[in-house]
C-alpha cells in the first residue's frame, strides 16, 4: 500500500493514472455506442486513417495530434456521407481508407528530415509521457460525451437503433449522425496517446462487448462498460509498472481476462 502511495507521488504516474481513467470513461461511453451500432470496423478505419494526418503534421511541423484529429474527423464525416449514398461497397471503401491513411503516415514520417519521431509511441501508446494538456483535452471530451448522453439519450438511442424510423418521425437524424461521427473520431484520436493506434480499438470494443453480455439497454451498457474499462486499465497500468512491460499490451490482457471471466459467469 505504501509502495502504491509512493508511486502516486510521482507526477508522471499520477498523470498516467488519471489519463487511464479518463480514457476509460470516454471509451466506455463511445465504445458502447460503436459496438451497439456495429460500426467497429468503421472506427478501425478512422483510427488508422488518422495516422496519415499525424505523418503530414510531423512533416510540416504542426502538432501531430492535431493532424491526426483533422484526418480522423474528415474520414468519419466522409464515411457518414458516403453511407447515405446508394450503391457504395462500404467495407471495401473503409479498408482502402484504412491502409491509405497508414501509407500516407509512413511516407511522411520517412520524409521528415532530422530525427525520427517516436513511431512506437504512436503505434502502441505512450501513457507515461502524458502531459497536463492531454488530461485537459481528455476531460473536455469526456465531459462532452457525458453531457450529450445525459441530455439527448432518447434521440441518440432512437437514431442508433432504427434511423429510418427516426427520420420518418422527423428526428434530427443527420445532425445526430454527423455530430456523433465527429465525437467518435475525436475520442479515438485522444485515446491514441494512451493506447496507440494499433491497440486503441480494443479499449473501445472489449469493455463494451463484456458489458453487452449483461446490459439490457444502451445506457446500462455504457455504465458497465466504463466500470470494466476503468478496472481493466488501472490494473493493466499497475501490472505494466511493476513488471516493466508496455502498458497498452497489459491493459488489453487485463481487459480480455475480465471479458472471459464475465463470459464464463454468464454461463452459470
Amino acid at each position: 500500500m505504501n509502495e502504491l502511495l509512493e508511486l502516486l507521488s510521482f507526477g508522471f504516474f499520477r498523470n498516467a493514472l488519471i489519463a487511464a481513467v479518463l480514457t476509460s470513461i470516454i471509451a466506455g461511453i463511445v465504445g458502447s455506442y460503436i459496438v451497439a451500432r456495429r460500426t467497429v470496423f468503421i472506427s478501425g478505419g478512422i483510427t488508422h486513417a488518422s495516422f496519415g494526418g499525424m505523418g503530414i503534421a510531423y512533416f510540416l511541423g504542426f502538432p501531430p495530434f492535431a493532424g491526426a484529429a483533422v484526418f480522423a474527423i474528415l474520414s468519419a464525416i466522409g464515411i457518414e456521407w458516403s453511407s447515405n449514398k446508394v450503391g457504395l461497397r462500404e467495407d471495401s471503401s473503409i479498408a482502402i481508407l484504412w491502409s491509405l491513411g497508414m501509407a500516407i503516415g509512413i511516407l511522411f514520417v520517412f520524409l521528415t528530415p532530422g530525427y525520427t519521431p517516436n513511431l512506437m509511441g504512436f503505434l502502441f501508446g505512450d501513457i507515461l509521457t502524458v502531459k497536463v494538456s492531454d488530461l485537459l483535452w481528455l476531460s473536455a471530451i469526456g465531459l462532452i460525451c457525458i453531457l450529450l448522453i445525459k441530455l439527448f439519450y432518447p434521440v441518440i438511442l432512437s437514431v442508433a437503433f432504427d434511423s429510418e424510423f427516426a427520420s420518418v418521425s422527423k428526428m434530427p437524424v443527420q445532425t445526430i449522425k454527423y455530430v456523433s461521427a465527429i465525437i467518435v473520431a475525436i475520442s479515438i484520436v485522444l485515446s491514441i496517446k494512451v493506447m496507440g493506434i494499433i491497440l486503441v480499438l480494443s479499449l473501445f470494443t472489449i469493455p463494451a462487448s463484456a458489458a453487452n453480455l449483461f446490459a439490457k439497454d444502451l445506457k446500462k451498457m455504457m455504465y458497465f462498460s466504463v466500470l470494466i474499462s476503468v478496472i481493466g486499465s488501472v490494473t493493466g497500468l499497475l501490472v505494466a509498472y511493476y513488471l516493466d512491460l508496455p502498458s497498452g499490451a497489459t491493459i488489453i490482457f487485463t481487459l480480455t481476462i475480465l471479458y472471459m471471466l464475465l463470459r464464463i459467469k454468464k454461463l452459470f
Partner: protein, 246 residues
Amino acid sequence: MQPLIQLNNISAAYDNNVVLSHVNLEVNPSDFIGIIGPNGGGKTTLLKIILNLIKPISGELLKAKSLNVGYLPQVNTIDKQFPITIKDVILSGNYATNQWWKKPGKELQHKVSELLEFIGLENSHNESIGELSGGQMQRVFLCRALISNPNLLILDEPNTYVDKSFEANLYKLLSELNDDMAILLVSHDVGTISSMVKTIACVNGGLHYHPSNKITNEVLQSYNCPIELISHGHVPHRVLKHHDNE
C-alpha cells in the same frame, strides 16, 4: 374532405432505373388500402416516397397539415441484438409528435403499459428486445407505430412473422383502428388482405387503383399484376377461376 396524402404523377428511380412511373394515389381519412404487387414491383419504393425517405424524380407529393404517420417497417430490417428495452422501443414512436427532450410523463407510461397488455407482453417493459420472438417483436413495433395516435398507419408486410394465435387479433385490431385512422397495408399475401381492406392498389412499375376489395385473376391480369391469388380456408384448397359458360 381533404386527402391526407396525394401523389400526383410521381416517378421514382434508383441510378436511372425507373422503378415507379406516373403514379397517382390519394389517401383519405377513412381509407383502408391494400398495396399488392410482385417483389421488385415498387411497393417498398412507394412507401419510401410517402414516408419522405427517398425523393421522387418527378411529380408532386401533397400532404395534409394534420398528417401524423405511424409506421411499421419490415421487422427483418432491424438489428435484433441491439441493446434496447421494449419500453424504449415503444416510446421512440412518440417522439414524432412530442418533444423527445422531455421525460415521458405518467400518461405516456400508462399508455405503454396498456399497449403492452394488449399484445400480451405486460410487465416486460424493461426486457431487451433480443429476447422476443419474431412475432412478438412485430407486435412491439406495432405499438411503436400506434403510440403517437397517428391518423395514417402504414404497415409493411405486417403478417410476415405474426403467429397464428395473434393473426386474428391483428386483423380485428386493424379494422377497429380503421375507425380512427387511414391504413395503408403492403402485403404479398393477397388472399389475406383482400378480406380486410376496403380498396386495393396494385403496384408493378405503375399503380392501378381498384376501388373495391374484390380481386379476381382477371382484375390482376388486366392490371398486369403477375401475382397468384391465395385463399385461406379450413381445408387447404386452390380457387380456380370461373368457367367461361358460367
